[in-house]
Amino acid sequence: MTIRTQVIPDSGVKTAVPALEPLLVEIHEEGRAGRHVRGGEEADALIPAAFRRRAPLGLPELSEPQVVRHFTHLAQLNYAVDTGMYPLGSCTMKYNPKINDRVASLFADLHPKQPQSTVQGALTLLAELERMLAKLTGMDAVTLQPAAGAQAEFTAILMFKAYHQKRGEGAKRHRVIVPDTAHGTNPASAAMCGFQVTTVKSDAHGNIDLASLKAALGDDVVGLMLTNPNTLGLFEERLREVCDAVHAVGGLVYGDGANMNALLGVARPGDLGFDCIHINVHKTFSTPHGAGGPGAGPLCVKEPLRAFLPKPWIVRDEQGRYHLDTARDDQPPAGLGDSIGRVRTFLGNFGVLVRAYTYMRTLGEEGLAEASNDAILAANYLLAQLREHFDVAFDRACMHEFVLSASRQKKQGASALDIAKALIDEGFHPPTVYFPLVVPEALMIEPTETEPREIAERAKTDPASVKAAPKHAPLARLDEVTAARNPKLKWQRPT
């Protein structure tokens, strides 16, 4: 069989099919290698023959300049906050200050199992971050362990489970209530905890429907998972009534903090009726999204939930030294008590948390409030200009983001997806599309506070002939159906 080959103009490398950039395996040549580490040959005789690798180790052999050019080319195919506006609703793609990256490297050479006396600086930072997050959210205690929002949800629902069990109500409570506007992680997290999910619809104003909620409540309810502002970018107008209704049947209210960027210094979830809330520091506190991760999802809770927080806890002694309570060097370690235990191997995504700490300290109380203020204003400013072109899902003042419907445009032949792809040709990353599910042809737009006004003005769209878009991206539209039907999930080595 002849393999069709494509010569990539700037590298002269042949690939099996036409491609923007070869795979590492396609530029491999036997015997090529950098010399980053060498030696140790005597080790081979120290490993008994029965354990030695016999399977071929077919990693590509490459020179350092090849690898550098390869990943530099690949990087250049990406759109990123560093290259332009990224108005993805619910994702808070704000600018990521570079100082955050630099100071994180000050802590790179610390092992998580070091004796606590040798990591007092790192523990001090974490303890201070916990205190700042508690103040910001109006909560009493914080865990920094969760690696992301979804893991914080799982952590909290496990804590809810433990809370109800401790009160002797574990057996009867098995339902978690989730509004129809919720992120998919909410029902998925509840299901991972063994609970059933009851979905409650939204009302005509984009709030959770109070009557439906009350009808769904009972003494079998674990709690409610609520995003506020919700994924329509709207603040729940009867939030306290919602929380009170859940508390009245003995349930707990989980705050999904995905949209916390609207609330810094504006309102504290702890004052609004929530029993806990997570923070996506990769949204609200400017830590880089990293092409999909890492993030960090600190979970802030009210006093009644404190005992169930994951351990170890960071505790301070009278001399101002910090310790991990389950592994103290200076006195007998504490047991787990009512804690659910650890949800990850070590204390948290420390390198991410340093960036969040740096952001909070840099902005300070006034700066954080200003950030939310500006985010809300930017969203409303953009909404005011787009309102005449699009249907607005629920037309009232939005918080930091808003949702348009492209239903009208769809009738004229351009779907939300088409508009998204056309925005690529205009130099923008598309907004979130087809979410939340309650809005047909949804375009969910979040400009954030760090885009200058001129960019926001350019970000208007014209639903002209956009079916063929994008024309100016590295690739045209990708065939996702073929990818799923005939999964090719790794490269085939050329034979």
Partner: protein, 439 residues
């Protein structure tokens, strides 16, 4: 802008917020300039003793390894670091192809059919692998070796509280006989004490009982040891931090999860696949998304959304730079140094290597009792060594009755560090003997 929106102040937009909760005083510090924050963080960092600042033998899932200079230069480029999840593939090919390469490299290293695009970190990846086995077999019992890292076992136990799984811990040698009715057997090779384990026998026992075999592995070991895919393992998991990722006091790291193709639809998390665009050019997309939470909600295989993509890209860059020979060399150096050190330490009075059988690049060391009291021998010695600025791990109460040291070597371990450790243990043991004799 206010005028265009038709308001006098932003507060006009906030009428839905209860008045008594609006604009609270938070009590946070005032802001700082970039120079001030840099100085502040430098002062905090100065209160730490970094790993490189003296003899250092901690390891386990997180290892102090050499990171080629080009790794952070490439992986932390703004185009990767400040991009979002690649939901718009036309403008995310850099991320998608890099992750496809990561999946390919990991599959090759572990000899598994398919790897996903990353989990949070090692411990929670083990838990999610156990969940896969539970869904696949319909059984709720998970049997795990007590020589799996303590922190991993604790994480699995926490996760297990979600779907109310039964967790059984037995020594590795008793895993095979415990296979009856188990969704999976979880074995670690090399184990927490560096011990080499006959994984194939455990996999065979799991399969004979209708369950799966999950191997906890670590990347460098696979350069020299027969990989999970050649041992009959169904799901291979582990901590990917040693692949060019900084230790950073606990994260962010890289959860590796790879499996047989037959299990791919039970996999958690994102998976990148190859396809083509409307013009016939090769391209990459997130695929098999009907497993995931944003499509399937409560019926998803996992709730994971944000993962550790930049860590996966880092690992791809690292493996590309190191190549098979570089990876083997790094692994061999750890093995050679660990064996040389074990030989010297095992010869000291009262000391003996206590890993069961052959070991890889770390080992457990039984040590003499320093003094009667609450602290056992290993833990007391660990604290005494710290006074000499030598950092080692003690098993503490984490591995049954064991009261040993665990000593990890990598290519970073120097002769001077090894000499310092041997001399320190020798002198501490000698001073104890003198005290005892004097008494």
């Amino acid at each position: 802008m206010l005028e265009r929106v038709g308001i006098k102040s932003v507060d006009d937009l906030l009428t839905a917020i209860p008045k008594d909760a609006l604009r609270p005083k938070l009590g946070l510090p005032v802001g700082m300039s970039e120079l001030e924050i840099q100085t502040h963080l430098e002062s905090l960092a100065a209160k730490n003793r970094t790993a490189g600042a003296g003899p250092f033998f901690l390891g386990g899932p997180v290892q102090r390894r050499y990171i080629p200079a080009a790794v952070p230069v490439l992986a932390l480029r703004g185009e990767f670091l400040t991009a979002y999840t690649p939901y718009q593939p036309e403008v995310s090919q850099g991320t998608l192809q890099s992750i496809f390469e990561y999946q390919s490299l990991i599959s090759e290293l572990l000899a598994m059919d398919v790897a996903n695009s990353s989990m949070y970190e090692g411990g929670s990846a083990v838990a999610e692998a156990a969940f896969m086995a539970v869904r696949t077999t319909g059984r709720k019992k998970v049997v795990m070796a007590s020589e799996v890292y303590f922190e991993f076992r604790r994480t699995v136990r926490t996760y297990a509280k979600g779907p109310d799984l039964e967790i059984v811990e037995v020594p590795t040698r008793d895993l095979a006989p415990a296979a009856d009715g188990a969704a999976c057997l979880i074995v670690q090779h090399p184990d927490a004490f560096g011990g080499l384990v006959d994984v194939r026998a455990i996999a065979d026992a799991a399969h004979a009982a209708g369950g799966l075999c999950i191997q906890v592995t670590e990347p460098h070991a696979n350069a020299l040891l027969e990989p999970p895919g050649a041992l009959g393992v169904d799901i291979a998991v582990g901590e990917g931090q040693p692949l060019g990722i900084a230790m950073s006091f606990g994260g962010p790291y890289l959860g590796i999860l790879a499996c047989r193709m037959a299990l791919v639809r039970q996999m958690p998390g994102r998976i990148v696949g190859e396809t083509h665009d409307a013009r016939g050019m090769r391209g990459f997309v997130n695929t098999l998304q009907t497993r995931e939470q944003h499509i399937r909600r409560e019926k998803a295989t996992s709730n994971i959304c944000t993962n550790e993509a930049i860590a996966a890209i880092t690992a791809a860059v690292y493996l590309g730079l190191m190549g098979p020979e570089g990876l083997r060399a790094a692994a061999r150096l750890g093995v050679a140094k660990a064996h040389a050190l074990a030989h010297r330490l095992g010869a000291l009075p009262g000391c003996s290597v206590s890993t069961d059988g052959d070991f890889f690049d770390r080992f457990a060391l039984r040590v003499p009792r320093l003094a009667p009291g609450r602290e056992g021998s290993g833990y007391a010695l660990r604290n005494a060594l710290l006074v000499d600025n030598v950092i080692v791990e003690a098993t503490a109460a984490h591995y049954g009755d064991r009261d040993d040291l665990i000593i990890q070597c990598t290519e970073m371990t120097t002769d001077a560090e090894m000499d310092a450790l041997v001399a320190a243990i020798e002198s501490i043991a000698a001073s104890v003997r003198e005290t005892v004799t004097a008494r």
